[in-house]
Amino acid sequence: MAARSGKALVSLGRLNGCGLGLHTSLSRATYATALTTTTTGNKVFPERGNRGGFARKPRRPPGDPRTEKMAVDQDWSAVYPAAAAFRPGSVPLPVRMGYPVNRGVPPEKRGNLELIKIPNFLHLTPAAIKKHCKALKPFCTEWPTALDSNAKCDEFFPIKVKTTDYVSASNSIRNPAARIVNLQVKLSSLNLDDHAQKKILKLVGDRYCKDTDTLTLTTDSCPLRKQNYDYAMYLLTVVYHESWKTEAWEADITRADMDEYIWEDSPSQKNILDTLVRMKAAAEGEEEAMEEEVLGRPEVQEYKDSVSRLKNEGENESSLLQYREAVKKVLQL
């Protein structure tokens, strides 16, 4: 036990010297089990510094470093159980680090500040990681095997909530950006009819992406993440229910405000009817064709489709070709 406490005091001394946060190694020291490291037997802890001067006993020379006595098959996780500074006497490797001065070699590990400054991973060797994970494995739960692809996940769990946590060293552990909540949902997974679909796009505006059919709601107005999440769900609920409502003033929509071109009662319909009626009158004399009969003809339906397509989709090769064919058929050219 004396050797163990001696080691703890040595590390305490290192703390004072280097100012690294090694409090964890101290707390680890108190939970030491029967596995004590073999140090040189009953060595009395040497005096620290020459306070009295010449009246005190002269300081004994330090013994061999621990590396000389280490077995090849020792348990390394006992030497470095937790994060600790580099101790050249405890690491049996011929490490060299630093700038080679005068075309020499990098300095050796004894008294090398560079090796002490840099964080080391001596406590996280593969064997140690395996041991830790073996102890942690009982606390993990399995992923449900039914959800093995992204498509299935999207089908059954369409709402995606993204939150970010930040870990850094500074005066404060809080990061105000951690309160931001991002909620994404595909509109195809919500129960919406035609009118609701159009209205929700108008309500939501920029937050909808047409290419991926995703509605994104980002909330950061509340100070806590839970509050922002609740607000995002509230917004989704409100927008969904409002889109199903049909207000009285929605019936007052004019032709110019409509999203799509409707062929019925449009100038195009009037024109084609006029033309066809006059053509028939000129060809067959006094007979007046009924409007419904004219409208029912397949060529007129084709013409209607092509005009609607031109107006809704814009002018491109295929729609113009379709229009040309439809006109030729209707006017019997």
Binding site: A32, A135, L136, T141, P144
Partner: protein, 202 residues
């Protein structure tokens, strides 16, 4: 002995998890509305788990695992971005994090290195005058991103706590979690389905 009992209980809880999931699988998951029917039990990580792996010796009293009926959150993706000034430290940390993920059975999506960011400053060398003599500093931030896919809330908590406790000094981390949720019950049907549709909303 306490050890085998605790493990047996853990195995039984895992078995319960499996039974629950196969049932869900056959029903096609569409029948359950909301989180309550997903009978994935959640295990609570006790605070003093660090003592159990201190040395290689056999533990006499392992920490107890508490299993609750609260449904586990499901994360479609967990993205861990580490930032540091030293690339070698991030290399070692990446080795540690990827190995830990493999040991705990977590699928790794992508492990990549976003380009470094260098912030440069040009300052006057002297306290007073001498504008022609300046000194330049630069601060390099290296990044490493580890993306994990499809973890449960308990597994994510365990893995992230392990990773974060072993974060080296001088390294910062940002964790982005994308949780999957069902459409809540109040959004399944519109409120006014049974009411006349033309309501004046003034």
């Amino acid at each position: 002995m306490a050890a085998p009992m605790a493990y047996r209980r853990a195995v039984c809880s895992l078995a319960r998890i499996f039974v629950g999931i196969t049932k869900l699988g056959t029903k096609g998951l569409s029948a359950c509305g909301g989180h309550r029917d997903c009978r994935i039990t959640r295990s609570h990580v006790p605070l003093r788990w660090s003592t159990s792996f201190h040395t290689g010796a056999v533990f006499s009293s392992p920490s107890s695992i508490r299993v609750t009926d609260e449904p586990d959150t499901l994360f479609q993706k967990v993205s861990v971005l580490v930032k540091g000034h030293d690339r070698a430290v991030l290399d070692s940390y990446e080795f540690f994090a990827t190995m830990a993920a493999k040991e705990l059975g977590i699928t790794l999506d992508k492990v990549f290195e976003p380009p470094k960011y260098i912030e440069r400053l040009t300052l006057l060398k002297s306290v007073h005058i001498f504008k022609k003599h300046m000194v330049q500093y630069e601060m390099r931030t290296h990044y490493r991103c580890i993306e994990l896919s499809r973890l449960t809330g308990s597994t994510a908590q365990v893995y992230l706590e392990y990773i974060q406790r072993n974060l080296p000094e001088g390294v910062a981390m940002e964790v982005s979690k994308i949780a999957m949720e069902k459409v809540p019950e109040h959004i399944l049907e519109p409120l006014w389905k049974n009411q006349p549709t033309d309501r004046t909303g003034q």
